[in-house]
Structure formats: structure tokens, C-alpha cells
């Protein structure tokens, strides 16, 4: 990159707008007009092309913060709607560059071959997320029936003053929490292994709720979503009353793009 490019694309002190980047797609992608992006008022989504690549962008007012529910939904919807037609490298929410020139030169040109190779790998593939939550009652009964210490502590706190039995409650809760974490690991292994022959890759996400049973992203070939559905159906039956499973997708491959650096 030349020094003049740096000068051109550096933010001006009084700059009011920037270019929000949703993600990167192959250069042969066409965009329908009238798609609204993030910001208030939302800018129209455009393509900035360079070489074999294009970036999905829209203009935003950089003096206002981003992150309203509308902004978050717009970002996800634009990328997830794209993935059924073309591969896309989804960017994390909140990336803004100074102008379209900077997007073309600094983002697309400077990393052209890496992005093009990544897009080829994502061709005709999409991400699906399988998330399962334990039924609280079922999982607690399971833990109490398997752990004598938990059952003993339960008997001691039952009917007792909560403040007087605080330490016992913390002990009980910790045992339960750890037991559920063990079950989560075992159930996650079971899901990932059942999916082994039906996905290109998998990524186990960190649990974000203490009742999460499984939370795994899978990269799946177009036309193979039915196999995922069958695996999930089988597990739903095996885990009936115990885990409620949900499948989300197809969506952009958020869990399978590099973080760079």
C-alpha cells in the first residue's frame, strides 16, 4: 500500500460518516436495491468490488453509537440471507472504515488471496447451530439420583431457614452445577460424534446459560441439512423430557472464519 493511500483513507477530524462492513463475498455477486442496513436512518446496502472480491457495506453516521436491536438484526439478516446464494465471510458486528476506497484497497486488495481462498472453502456450505437446553426439573432429578452427597444436602436444606443454611445451599448448588457441566461435556461429545460424518467442521461454543446442554456450530454442505435434522431428531428422542433441542440455520459461517492477526 502506498503512502498516498494511507493519506487518502485516514479519517478526517471532521468526518461524519463511515462505511460499515457486513462481510465479504465473491465479486460476481449481484445485490438487489433497497436493502437497508444498520444505523438510523439505515443506509442502503451496497457492494464495493475489487478483483475477485466484493464487500457488503452501507454508509453510517459515525457520531451515533450502533447496536440497537434493529442494527443487530440487520447485520445478521443481510449476511444470513446472502449465504443461501453465495459464500460469505461474515464480519463481527461494528466494523467501520473511513470510505469505500479504504474498503477496496486496504481491506479487499491487501488481503485478496487469503479472502478468496477462504470464500472458495465456504462455497456451497452454510453454518447451522444446534442448541439444547436441559429441562431443569429432569436434570436436577437426574443429578440427585446419581449423587448421594447432593441428595443428602437437599434433605438438610429442605424446610430449613435459607439464611441459616446458606453454606449448605452453596455446596449443593456447586455440586449440581459441576454435575451439569459434566453432563454437558458428555452430551456435547455425543452430538459431535453423531454429526462426525455429516458435517465439514464443528465448533463447540461456550455455554452461555447454566442449563445449556449442547451448543455447537456445524459447517454443512448444501443439501445435507436433512442429515443434520435426522441426527437431531434421533437425539431428541433419546433425550426426550431431558433436553430440548433447537436447530438454527442456514446462516453465515460466523464460527468458521478466521479472526486474522
Amino acid at each position: 500500500m502506498s503512502a498516498s493511500t494511507r493519506e487518502k483513507s485516514r479519517p478526517d477530524a471532521g468526518q461524519q460518516t463511515g462505511v460499515y462492513v457486513y462481510g465479504i463475498v465473491p465479486g460476481d455477486v449481484k445485490l438487489n436495491s433497497g436493502v437497508h442496513g444498520v444505523g438510523d436512518p439505515p443506509g442502503e446496502v451496497r457492494l464495493v468490488r475489487s478483483g475477485e472480491l466484493a464487500a457488503l457495506v452501507s454508509e453510517v453516521d459515525i457520531t451515533k453509537p450502533l447496536g440497537t436491536p434493529e442494527d443487530l438484526q440487520a447485520h445478521a439478516e443481510i449476511l444470513d440471507a446472502t449465504v443461501t446464494d453465495a459464500p460469505v465471510l461474515p464480519s463481527r458486528f461494528g466494523a467501520v472504515l473511513t470510505n469505500e476506497e479504504a474498503v477496496a484497497e486496504e481491506l479487499l486488495d491487501a488481503n485478496h488471496d487469503e479472502f478468496a481462498a477462504a470464500l472458495r472453502q465456504l462455497e456451497r456450505r452454510a453454518e447451522y447451530i444446534v442448541r439444547g437446553r436441559y429441562s431443569e426439573q429432569a436434570i436436577l432429578e437426574e443429578v440427585l439420583s446419581e449423587d448421594a452427597e447432593a441428595a443428602r444436602l437437599r434433605d438438610r436444606i429442605r424446610g430449613a431457614d435459607p439464611d441459616a443454611t446458606r453454606e449448605l445451599r452453596i455446596q449443593l448448588g456447586e455440586i449440581v452445577n459441576n454435575a451439569i457441566a459434566d453432563k454437558r461435556r458428555a452430551d456435547t461429545r455425543q452430538l459431535v460424534s453423531a454429526m462426525k460424518d455429516h458435517c465439514v467442521a464443528s465448533d463447540v461454543r461456550d455455554a452461555t446459560s447454566e442449563l445449556d446442554a449442547v451448543y455447537v456450530a456445524f459447517l454443512i454442505e448444501a443439501g445435507k441439512a436433512g442429515e443434520l435434522e435426522r441426527v437431531v431428531q434421533d437425539l431428541s428422542e433419546r433425550w426426550r423430557e431431558r433436553v430440548e433441542l433447537q436447530v438454527r440455520g442456514p446462516m453465515a459461517a460466523y464460527d468458521f472464519v478466521g479472526t486474522g492477526g
Binding site: L47, P69, L72, A81, F93, R158, I170, S209, Q246
Partner: protein, 126 residues
């Protein structure tokens, strides 16, 4: 995008909490590829996640265990006392949880906005 409940029955819209966990935590970090012309912009976020393995989590689990109906496992417990405890405890804990969930739902609800017009990009070759 749709959600299949239990592997296939009825599609429902994606929740905002799921979207947040995906687009704020995952995805390509543009900062790693662009440095000079990156514009710092304020990003408002809400943290929809529950902190796991805190004392609050332990106490909540203990309370949930406490209000499990043990009449199926043990005979002869005074029914009335058991019911009262269960009812009282459930009310307290559930109340808190429901309030939090409602808040999130409201938040997600406000976010639903009609996006008329195609938002799909198409490849010329297809």
C-alpha cells in the same frame, strides 16, 4: 432464517439473544486486517448471557432443588407444608427469572421491523 424446534416441527423467528451471541462473539474481526482507516465507533451492546458458576448460580440451583416435588420419591411428608414451600419459593425465583426474560423479549420485540424488499444478493451466474 428459521428455528426448528426439536428438530423439525414449527419454525419461529431467531431470538435477539442468539443473534447477539453470534455477531458480537463470532465472525471475522476486520480490525485484524485493516488498521489505518478503521473508524472507532461506539457499539452499544447488551449482555444476554448468564454468568455461570457464580455463588448466585449455586444458590439458584439449590433453591430449584429445594422446590423439586419429592412426594414421588418420599412418602409421608406433610403435604400442606410441602406445597406452601414449593409455591412460595417458586413464586420468588420464577418471578425474578420471568422479569428478566420479559425484558429480553421486549427488547427483541422492539427490534422486529419490517424489512420490505428483497435483501438477498444473487450471483450473476446462477
Amino acid at each position: 432464517m428459521t428455528v426448528m424446534q426439536g428438530g423439525g416441527s414449527r419454525p419461529s423467528p431467531t431470538g435477539l439473544a442468539d443473534v447477539i451471541e453470534t455477531i458480537l462473539d463470532k465472525g471475522m474481526v476486520i480490525d485484524a486486517y485493516v488498521r489505518v482507516s478503521l473508524v472507532g465507533i461506539e457499539v452499544l451492546t447488551i449482555d444476554a448471557r448468564v454468568v455461570i458458576a457464580s455463588v448466585d448460580t449455586y444458590l439458584r440451583f439449590a433453591e430449584a432443588v429445594n422446590r423439586l416435588d419429592i412426594s414421588q420419591e418420599k412418602e409421608g411428608l406433610p403435604g400442606l407444608v410441602g406445597d406452601m414451600q414449593e409455591g412460595g419459593a417458586k413464586h420468588k425465583t420464577k418471578g425474578m427469572l420471568d422479569a428478566a426474560t420479559d425484558k429480553l423479549k421486549d427488547y427483541a420485540g422492539n427490534g422486529e421491523r419490517e424489512r420490505q424488499g428483497a435483501r438477498r444478493s444473487r450471483r450473476e451466474e446462477d
